[in-house]
């Protein structure tokens, strides 16, 4: 996906969010760090264009909720900044949906913060291989992948350009060493 594809996918998701929720007045967009946060901000801009309302956004770090704590070096943490979510429709935003484990952690983190009326999930890429019963409500693109492949979402704010690249993991250990 090039930057045009990413932009169009986000625009469509923004429309779908407002359609499904009959507007955006109760919607809060919470991005999962790191790239999900930027995607959530983009979605908020698109929704503002469509509906003329400013949707609150937040950033969620899931490091303290991971299910592999004690199995790997502790991941670095970033401050969680989530607006009031009580009674709101929270749309979790992540770059890639894979095993579903991050989303499980994100939902636990969210429930510790407040009691949303509903939680929905928006992802730019769904690459399959779910290990938990989790599905996305909004998907930018379904990309069937093999386990040894890696889907990398790049966003302009961090990586200089919006794009999605498919690569092969040459060393399975590399990811573990990188920590995150």
């Amino acid at each position: 996906m090039d930057s045009g594809d990413v932009g169009r996918a986000l625009a469509r998701i923004a429309h779908e969010i407002t359609e499904k929720n009959k507007g955006a007045s109760r919607v809060v967009l919470v991005g999962i760090l790191t790239r999900g946060v930027h995607l959530a901000k983009r979605l908020a801009e698109r929704i503002a264009d469509i509906e003329g309302v400013a949707v609150p956004t937040g950033s969620l770090d899931i490091g303290l909720y991971r299910d592999d704590i004690g199995m790997r070096e502790p991941v670095p943490l970033a401050p969680v900044r989530v607006p009031d979510i009580d009674g709101k429709i929270v749309v979790l935003v992540d770059d890639v949906l894979y095993t579903g484990r991050s989303i499980r952690a994100a939902m636990d983190a969210l429930i510790d913060i407040g009691r949303p009326q509903a939680v929905q999930l928006a992802v730019l890429v769904d690459r399959g291989h779910r290990e938990l019963p989790i599905r996305a409500d909004y998907v930018g693109k379904n990309i069937p992948t093999a386990h040894n492949e890696e889907v990398e979402v790049r966003v302009a704010e961090i990586d200089g350009a919006d794009e999605v690249v498919l690569g092969e993991v040459s060393r399975p250990a590399a990811r573990k060493e990188a920590g995150r």
């Binding site: 770090d61 490091g63 303290l64 909720y65 704590i69 004690g70 502790p74 670095p76 943490l77 401050p79």
Partner: protein, 310 residues
């Protein structure tokens, strides 16, 4: 991350930075409870009275969902004559992952770490070190200054008997700060010349240049030891009163590890000045200890006798 924290020297600048930035995440949402360490057990192993350090560690561990045992030597088998080693091994046999140790003897936590396979955190040993105090002080300073590089810090008071001073000096030096020690001649530690700090017995001349004025607790029993003629005299010569506080630059922070002797090392009203961050230090202590417990206990178990994980 390191297995034990016995001295602030166990952490290099990068390690300290890692603890402080992790603490940022906890500081942002104080009071929130996380499931992270729910399978871990932490024991507060205190051979010396403490309120703030013990409760701070207890809160930090509980907010990460660890089980917390509190062991105080008073009213325990220690009074029946059990040795430190036997007591520690008994506690460890109950399946403890981390021992937070305070002891009146310097080096006791280090000995403990040799006897048990659990992680050991030094919560203050004699006149030796208090590394988590240094971490929370560094964290508090970092909230106000973008960099430690060249930061001018004076540590004022009973440096000779202070584990806080020792750990703070080492931690500040690791981070690149410029430290001055101000103390009555009788309360300068022996060998202070080798510490790599400026040393002076007069407070007034250093005040105007400071970024941090850190006051140590004047232990009341020092007067009996003949180190100072009287507490009034001490307050007059080395206490931070209103007049001296006015000599500090606008930017300077006033810090104290607590508990304060108001009217001795710090005037009652000076402790309430806007630039006094003494209560922030207490709050930050919880966040820093949460960060430390997360980093030390949140990774794969370090095998007994094995090298510390990087």
């Amino acid at each position: 991350m390191i297995k034990n924290l016995l001295s602030i020297r166990d952490l290099d600048a990068e390690g300290i930075d890692r603890v402080l930035s992790t603490a940022d995440a906890f500081r942002e949402n104080m009071g929130r409870k996380y499931p992270t360490l729910r399978l871990k057990t932490v024991v507060n192993f205190f051979y010396e009275a403490s309120t703030r350090t013990r409760t701070s560690f207890e809160l930090a561990a509980k907010r990460l969902s660890a089980d917390v045992l509190n062991f105080a030597s008073g009213g325990s088998s220690v009074e029946k004559g059990e040795s430190l080693k036997d007591t520690a091994q008994t506690i460890e046999a109950m399946g403890v992952d981390c021992i937070i140790a305070r002891h009146s003897s310097a080096g006791a936590p280090a000995r403990l770490a040799e006897w048990v396979s659990a992680s050991v955190i030094n919560a203050g040993d004699g006149m030796h070190e208090h590394p988590t105090q240094a971490l929370l002080d560094l964290f508090t300073i970092r909230q106000h200054f973008p960099s430690f590089d060249g930061l001018r810090v004076a540590i004022v008071g009973d440096v000779a008997h202070s584990r806080v001073a020792r750990s703070d000096v080492l931690g500040l030096q690791t981070m690149g700060a410029d430290v001055t020690i101000v103390a009555p001649p009788t309360l300068l530690p022996p060998g202070v010349a080798s510490w790599g700090v400026h040393v002076t017995t007069e407070l007034d001349p250093v005040l105007a240049d400071l970024d941090i004025c850190y006051l140590l607790r004047m232990q009341l029993e020092r007067q009996k030891g003949g180190y100072v003629p009287s507490l009034r005299e001490y307050a007059r010569l080395w206490g931070l009163d209103r007049r001296r506080a006015a000599m500090l630059p606008e930017r300077a922070l006033i810090m104290h590890p607590g508990p304060m002797n108001r009217g001795v090392e710090i005037a009652a009203d000076v402790a309430e000045f806007p630039r006094s961050v003494i209560t922030d230090q207490v709050t930050n202590g919880i966040a820093v200890r949460q960060a430390l417990l997360y980093l030390m206990l949140g990774g794969p178990e370090v095998k007994e006798g094995g090298p510390d994980a990087g």
